[in-house]
C-alpha cells in the first residue's frame, strides 16, 4: 500500500533527536563555527545520552546499519535504515558540523557496521571510528589510492598519506583504505582499522574550512604503521570478479545518510527563511499559482518542492535498504538531488533574507557554507551522476568514464 508518511513508531525518536538538535546543537552552532578545531565538549554528555538511547534501540546518529539487522518476518519493513535517516535529518537541522563531531557516530562506524565480522563488531563496540579514503592525489577516483598494505607475519604494514579525514583527530580509530597490490586495481583495495595511537600514524595537520568548522578534518601520514591482520574489514582475498563491491557497499548505506544531512540543513534554512519572509509580510500559499504570488513566495515554493524531492528520495533509499532491495541507484539519486538542492536552497535563502541572512547574526549564512560539503564528500555530485547514468544506461565504468 503506497504511503509516504513516517510511521508513528519513529515519532518518539524524531522528537528526541529534534530536541537534542534544538537544545545541544543550535545553542553551540555559532560558537564552534568560530572556534574551529576546539573540541565541542558539550557533545560528550549528549553522546552518552545517545548511547543510552542506542542501547534502547533508538539511536540517532550516523552509527551505521548492519546488513541483515531488523530482518525478521515478511512484508513491508520500516527499520534501522529509515530510523537512522530520520535521526540524521533532525540532528542536521540542528548542526551538520556538530553531528559529524558526535563521538562514536563517525562514518568509520558506518563502515564497520556495514562490513565487519561479528568478532570485529564486538571489538570496536563503543569506539569512535573515522574514515580515511582520500589522498592528496586521489579524490573521487578512490580506485587509484596509493596507500599500501603489505602483509608481514600477523600484521599488515601500511604506508601512505590520507587527507580530509572527518573527526580524524578526535576519533579512537580510523578506517584506512589501502591497496594490497596496486597492479590488481580496485579489487585489491581493503579497509583497515587503525588505532589512533599506533606508532607511525602521524597527524600532520587540521584543515581550515569553508563550513562544518565544528568538525575537525585531519591529514595523516602513515609511516610503517603495523596493524594486526584481524583489523582488515571483510575478506582479505583479492576477488577481481567482485572488484570494488566490498568496500563500495558501504556507500549504499552512507550516501542516503549524507543526503539526510543535506535534507536537514536545507530544512533549517527553509524554516528560518519562511519565518523571516512572513515577518516581512510575504505569505506562502500552496494553492494559488506561484506566478500569482510574489517572486519571493514563488522562489520559496520552488525551493521547497526541490527539498521535498530530496527528502522523499532519501526516504526511498533507506526504505529499500530496510527491505533488502539493492539501492545503489536510489542512494546515488538521493545524494545527487539532496546535495545540489541543499546548496541551492541555503544559498538562495541567504539571498531572500538579504543582509539578515548574510550576517553572522543569523545562522543562514553558516548553513549556506556548511551545506556545500554535502555535495562533495561521500561522492561528489558528478560521481553520483556518473553512477546514476551508468545504471540507467547499462554502462560499465570503462565505457562511461
Amino acid at each position: 500500500m503506497i504511503n509516504l508518511e513516517i510511521p508513528g513508531k519513529f515519532q518518539q525518536l524524531v522528537d528526541q533527536a529534534h530536541q537534542a538538535a534544538a537544545e545541544f546543537f543550535r545553542p553551540n552552532s555559532r560558537k564552534y563555527d568560530q572556534a574551529e578545531h576546539t573540541y565541542p565538549k558539550e557533545l560528550d554528555m549528549l553522546a552518552a545520552l545517545l548511547d543510552g538511547l542506542s542501547a534502547a534501540g533508538g539511536g540517532a546518529g550516523a552509527g551505521g546499519v548492519r546488513r541483515g539487522s531488523d530482518d525478521s518476518g515478511k512484508g513491508n519493513k520500516n527499520g534501522a535504515n529509515l530510523r537512522l535517516l530520520l535521526g540524521t535529518i533532525e540532528m542536521c537541522w540542528g548542526d551538520v558540523g556538530l553531528l559529524l563531531s558526535m563521538p562514536r557516530q563517525g562514518l568509520g562506524n558506518a563502515a564497520i557496521g556495514s562490513v565487519a565480522t561479528d568478532e570485529q563488531l564486538a571489538r570496536y563496540q563503543g569506539k569512535w571510528a573515522a574514515m580515511a579514503i582520500t589522498e592528496p592525489d586521489t579524490g573521487s577516483d578512490s580506485g587509484a589510492i596509493r596507500t599500501t598494505a603489505v602483509l608481514d607475519g600477523d600484521h599488515y604494514v601500511l604506508n601512505g598519506e590520507k587527507i580530509f579525514v572527518t573527526a580524524g583527530e578526535r576519533a579512537d580509530c580510523v578506517v584506512v583504505w589501502a591497496t594490497l597490490d596496486r597492479s590488481l586495481g580496485k579489487a585489491a583495495i581493503k579497509s583497515f582499522v587503525v588505532d589512533r595511537d599506533t606508532p607511525g600514524f602521524e597527524l600532520v595537520r587540521l584543515e581550515h574550512k569553508l563550513g562544518i568548522r565544528a568538525s575537525d578534518t585531519a591529514h595523516f601520514r602513515l609511516d610503517n604503521v603495523r596493524v594486526h591482520k584481524d583489523n582488515l574489514l571483510g575478506s582479505p582475498e583479492i576477488n577481481t570478479e567482485q572488484g570494488f563491491a566490498g568496500v563500495m557497499q558501504t556507500f549504499d548505506n552512507t550516501r542516503p545518510l549524507v543526503a539526510a544531512m543535506a535534507v536537514g540543513v536545507a530544512r533549517a534554512a527553509l524554516e528560518e527563511t519562511r519565518r523571516i519572509l512572513e515577518e516581512s509580510g510575504v505569505a506562502i500559499d500552496y494553492d494559488r499559482p506561484a506566478f500569482a504570488q510574489s517572486a519571493a513566495a514563488a522562489t520559496f515554493l520552488q525551493l521547497e518542492a526541490d527539498w521535498e524531492a530530496a527528502y522523499l528520495l532519501s526516504l526511498e533509499a533507506a526504505w529499500m535498504a530496510d527491505n533488502r532491495k539493492p539501492n545503489s541507484l536510489q542512494a546515488s539519486m538521493a545524494k545527487a538531488k539532496a546535495g545540489r538542492s541543499a546548496s541551492d536552497i541555503t544559498l538562495r535563502c541567504v539571498e531572500l533574507t538579504g543582509s539578515l541572512g548574510y550576517s553572522e547574526n543569523s545562522l543562514l549564512e553558516k548553513w549556506a557554507r556548511d551545506s556545500k560539503i554535502l555535495d562533495i564528500f561521500e561522492g561528489t555530485q558528478q560521481i553520483q551522476q556518473l553512477i546514476v547514468a551508468r545504471r540507467l544506461l547499462g554502462k560499465s565504468s570503462s565505457e562511461l568514464k
Binding site: 500500500m1 503506497i2 504511503n3 509516504l4 508518511e5 513516517i6 510511521p7 508513528g8 513491508n76 519493513k77 520500516n78 529509515l82 500559499d285 500552496y286 494553492d287 494559488r288 499559482p289 506561484a290 506566478f291 500569482a292 515554493l301 520552488q302 521547497e304 518542492a305 526541490d306 521535498e308 524531492a309 530530496a310 522523499l312 528520495l313 526516504l315 526511498e316 526504505w319 536510489q330 539519486m333 545527487a336 538531488k337 558528478q382 553520483q384 551522476q385 556518473l386 546514476v388 547514468a389 551508468r390 540507467l392 544506461l393 547499462g394 554502462k395 565505457e399 562511461l400 568514464k401
Partner: protein, 447 residues
C-alpha cells in the same frame, strides 16, 4: 535601438521594409497561390481543418434523468491510515496498472501521432478505454461501480500508465472519469442518481471538468466566469479554455464565481441553451480535442450546484486535478527516459555511442533523478488525499516540481536526440509539447 530598452520597451515603427513584408504576408495568405497550385495542400494546415470541423453549439446530450432513488449520496470511505512508509502498490493496484500499461502500449502509443495531427481521439479507442473500466474504480459499488474506498493513488497509477502511452489520448480517455469522480466526491443524492448511472454503463458519455480560463497568470481561485443566483436557480456567463473533448462532451462540470463570493462548481448539460463550444487546438494535448466552452447567460436549475458551493470542495477539486496532471507528467517523462536511453546508446558519434560522453550521460542521469522526485511527490500527495489527511502543501509542491522538471525533461529529451528529436519521426517532440502543459493547465482530469 536604444541600448537600455528591455523586452517590450520600444516597438520599431513600420518603415518601407516593414510595409513590404506586410504586403507579402497578405499575399501569402490569399487563395490565389493555391488556385495556381503554388502551395502544397498540406500547407493549409490542420489548424483550419479542425477549426471548421467543430460545431458551434454544444453536443446534443442524452437525457439525464434519475432512474433510481437514493436517500443519501454514496461516498467512498477514506482509505485506512497505513502506518508504514511503503512504495509498493497493493495487488489490485498492480493488476490495474499492468492492464493500463498494456493498453497504453498497444492502443495509445501507436495511435498517438495520428490523433495529435487530427486533434481528436479515435472513437473506437475511447470505447476500448470504457471497456477497460478505468472509470468504474472511482465509483462506489452501490452506484454500479467497483470502488470500495477512496483511491486517489489508483487514479494516479492509471493516469501515469496511460500518459506513458500518450498524454493527449490519456486526457481524452480520462476526461469522463474526472466528472464521475467529482460527482462521487461532491454530488448530492439527486445529482448522483441523475448522472452517475450513465458513467457505469456501456456508453459512457464524453464529459469534462472545465476550470481553465483563457488569460495570462490564470488563478483558479479568481474566476472570471460568473454565476448569479436567480429565482429558479443560476445563470452562468463566461469562457472556459482547454476543455477536453469539448465538442463531444454531453456533460460539463464548470467552475464559476458564485455571486462574487468565490468559486463553485456547477453541473451543466451540453444541450442547455447558451452553451457553445469552439475548437482550441494547442501546442500539445491535441488528441484530447481541446476546445473553448462559451457560456452565454446559461440558465441552470438550482440542482446544478455541486457540493453546496463550498470553498473547501472547490479547493479540493483544484488540488486533486493538479495531482492528476502530475501523474500524467510522470508517465510522459518516463516515456521520454525510456526512449532516449536506447537512442543515446545506439547513436554513434566520434567513434563511440554518444552515451559514453558525460555531457549526454549526465542529462540522462538528471532526467532519471528528477523524474523519481516527481513521482514520489505525486504519490505522497495522492496518498495523503485518499487517507483524509491534509494535502494542500503536498499537491502544491508536486505541481511546482512537475511543472518545472517535466518541462526540463521534455526539453532535454528533444536535445538528446538532436535534429531527430525535432522531427515527427520520433515521438519526443510531441512529449516536449505535451509536457509544457503541466503547470499551466487546471481542471480536466481528477484523481
Amino acid at each position: 535601438m536604444v541600448a537600455n530598452e528591455g523586452a517590450g520597451g520600444r516597438v520599431p515603427r513600420r518603415d518601407a521594409m516593414g510595409s513590404a513584408l506586410a504586403v507579402l504576408n497578405r499575399l501569402a495568405g490569399t487563395a490565389v497561390l493555391d488556385r495556381f497550385g503554388l502551395r502544397k495542400p498540406v500547407e493549409r494546415g490542420v489548424y483550419g481543418a479542425t477549426r471548421t470541423g467543430f460545431g458551434a453549439v454544444g453536443a446534443a446530450s442524452r437525457t439525464f434523468a434519475a432512474t433510481q432513488r437514493l436517500t443519501k449520496p454514496q461516498r467512498l470511505p477514506a482509505a485506512a491510515d497505513r502506518g508504514q512508509f511503503d512504495l509498493t502498490p497493493d495487488d489490485e493496484q498492480q493488476l490495474i496498472r499492468s492492464t493500463v500499461v498494456e493498453f497504453a502500449a498497444e492502443q495509445l502509443r501507436p495511435l498517438a501521432a495520428e490523433a495529435d495531427t487530427a486533434c481528436t481521439a479515435p472513437a473506437g479507442l475511447l470505447a476500448k478505454a470504457t471497456e477497460l473500466g478505468v472509470t468504474l474504480v472511482g465509483v462506489p459499488e452501490q452506484l454500479g461501480g467497483l470502488g470500495t474506498e477512496r483511491s486517489a493513488v489508483t487514479g494516479v497509477l492509471v493516469a501515469e500508465a496511460m500518459a506513458h502511452g500518450d498524454m493527449g489520448l490519456a486526457v481524452a480517455c480520462l476526461a469522463p472519469s474526472a466528472v464521475s469522480t467529482a460527482l462521487v466526491l461532491w454530488g448530492d443524492e439527486q445529482q448522483q442518481a441523475t448522472y452517475l448511472p450513465a458513467f457505469v454503463g456501456d456508453d459512457v458519455p464524453a464529459a469534462a471538468l472545465a476550470v481553465q480560463e483563457p488569460r495570462a497568470l490564470f488563478d483558479p481561485f479568481t474566476l472570471h466566469t460568473k454565476a448569479y443566483r436567480t429565482a429558479g436557480g443560476f445563470v452562468l456567463d463566461g469562457v472556459k479554455s482547454l476543455v477536453p473533448r469539448a465538442a463531444q462532451a454531453e456533460l460539463f462540470i464548470v467552475a464559476a464565481d458564485l455571486d462574487g463570493r468565490g468559486p463553485a462548481l456547477f453541473v451543466v448539460e451540453s444541450s442547455t441553451a447558451g452553451v457553445g463550444v469552439e475548437s482550441e487546438p494547442a501546442m500539445g494535448l491535441r488528441a484530447a480535442g481541446m476546445g473553448r466552452l462559451r457560456l452565454d447567460q446559461v440558465a441552470l436549475p438550482a440542482t446544478a450546484l455541486l457540493g453546496e458551493g463550498s470553498s473547501a470542495v472547490y479547493a479540493e477539486c483544484v488540488r486533486l486535478s493538479r495531482i492528476a496532471w502530475c501523474a500524467l507528467a510522470v508517465g510522459t517523462a518516463q516515456a521520454v527516459l525510456d526512449y532516449v536511453i536506447p537512442y543515446v546508446n545506439d547513436r554513434v558519434a566520434f567513434g563511440e555511442p554518444v552515451s559514453h560522453r558525460q555531457g549526454v550521460a549526465f542529462k540522462v542521469a538528471d532526467i532519471g533523478i528528477e523524474l523519481e522526485g516527481m513521482r514520489l511527490l505525486t504519490y505522497r500527495a495522492a496518498s495523503r488525499a485518499e487517507q483524509g489527511k491534509s494535502y494542500a502543501r503536498e499537491a502544491g509542491l508536486a505541481r511546482r516540481l512537475c511543472a518545472e522538471k517535466g518541462m526540463l525533461i521534455g526539453n532535454d529529451g528533444v536535445q538528446l536526440l538532436g535534429g531527430h528529436g525535432f522531427v515527427k519521426e520520433h515521438p519526443v517532440e510531441r512529449w516536449y509539447r505535451d509536457l509544457r502543459a503541466i503547470g499551466l493547465v487546471e481542471g480536466s482530469v481528477l484523481v
